[in-house]
Symmetry: C2
Subunit: 214 residues, 2 copies
């Protein structure tokens, strides 16, 4: 199964590409924003394609062709303004959803943010970001795609533990990016996560077990 990773050069994206590449069940295509990134990924033996979430749905459709799943783990990041939050985290995500539909990709995994579905629990410090994620998720739910929306808590760079806590609603918590990447891989073919959304933080349950009991 070929998986398109959108946001492949991001901190979760890179780990995800590595995991997929190392797996016998998947092949991976990385969507990247610059020629240099494409070169870098190709040198590591990863199929890479140039494309931007600020481009057209048609261009993104082309990027998604022949893939069986899309993982959206892109984000405009904290260095740009809320203009980019609107254009990347919201509109870019929805364009990717539309592109997946056009390309005939059925499976879509979205990396969102803890409690993004619950307006009353949005992080006050980055509330506009939460609004963007919220509406991208809502539009995915309303699409025809078989979605899974993963809403991780605060992201850490420390090594993963391989153990998580998953539920529709969790108190604020943290999780290493490595465990988010592993959770993404674990849900791709896991039918119990189809058309489900969940919060994700570090916990006591092995990832593969946790995703089976959603």
């Amino acid at each position: 199964m070929k998986v398109l990773v959108v946001g492949a050069n991001g901190q979760i994206g890179k780990q995800l590409v590595g995991l997929l590449k190392g797996s016998s069940e998947y092949t991976v295509r990385a969507l990247l924003r610059t020629e240099q990134q494409v070169k870098d990924f190709e040198q590591l033996g990863v199929e890479a394609i140039l494309g931007s979430l600020e481009g057209t749905v048609e261009q993104l459709t082309e990027a998604a062709k022949d893939c069986e799943a899309v993982v959206f783990t892109a984000g405009s990041g904290g260095q740009t303004g809320y203009d980019k939050t609107l254009l990347i985290d919201l509109d870019g995500a929805v364009k990717m959803i539309e592109a997946a539909e056009s390309a005939g990709v059925k499976r879509f995994i979205m990396v969102s943010a803890i409690q993004a579905h619950n307006r009353n629990h949005w992080n006050e410090q980055i509330k506009p970001y939460y609004a963007a994620k919220h509406y991208a998720d809502r539009i995915l739910v309303q699409s025809k795609l078989t979605y899974t929306i993963i809403r991780p808590g605060g992201l850490l760079n420390e090594p993963g533990t391989g153990k998580v806590k998953i539920a529709e609603n969790l108190e604020r918590g943290f999780i290493p990016r490595e465990d988010v990447a592993k959770t993404i891989v674990a849900v791709i073919k896991e039918k119990s996560t189809y058309n489900k959304s969940f919060d994700l933080v570090s916990g006591e349950t092995p990832i593969t077990e946790a995703v089976q009991t959603i």
Copy 2:
């Protein structure tokens, strides 16, 4: 029929409140952000209620109680950043849509922007604003409300002509705010505009005639 005007203190909102107040078919309730605005409107004999689009859906539901229609003509305006665009023009609008549903209001008129439905025609200079309007409109269309989405061209302060051009897609153009306000009044009970969206600029057709032929 009582109409809740959201954004009543805005440039279109004020004219709309005046028109509704002067009509025998409608009564009006103005939703306002400050105590002073509430006082000012009450002194003019207008029912006014304090509330913010940054408040909760519950508060907005309370504001919409006993109304038969909601007109959304609010906007964060050009003086604030894109953080407010996300929180007011997008999330505030959707909260008002949800509030209308909760309050049992069936009719919802949204003031959007010309070509907001068409990503390729978004005004490049204010593209993030267009993204916010686009998604608010999409969520209204997917709601259970009987909507009309009015997408006016560039807004002018000059007096209205009473004549407009209406179509699903129009080239960029302009229209006095007074004519937008008059068009809003003309669509409220006009069944041919139910669950329709249209671009609106100045033209040759009298407003009441133009809205009947959508």
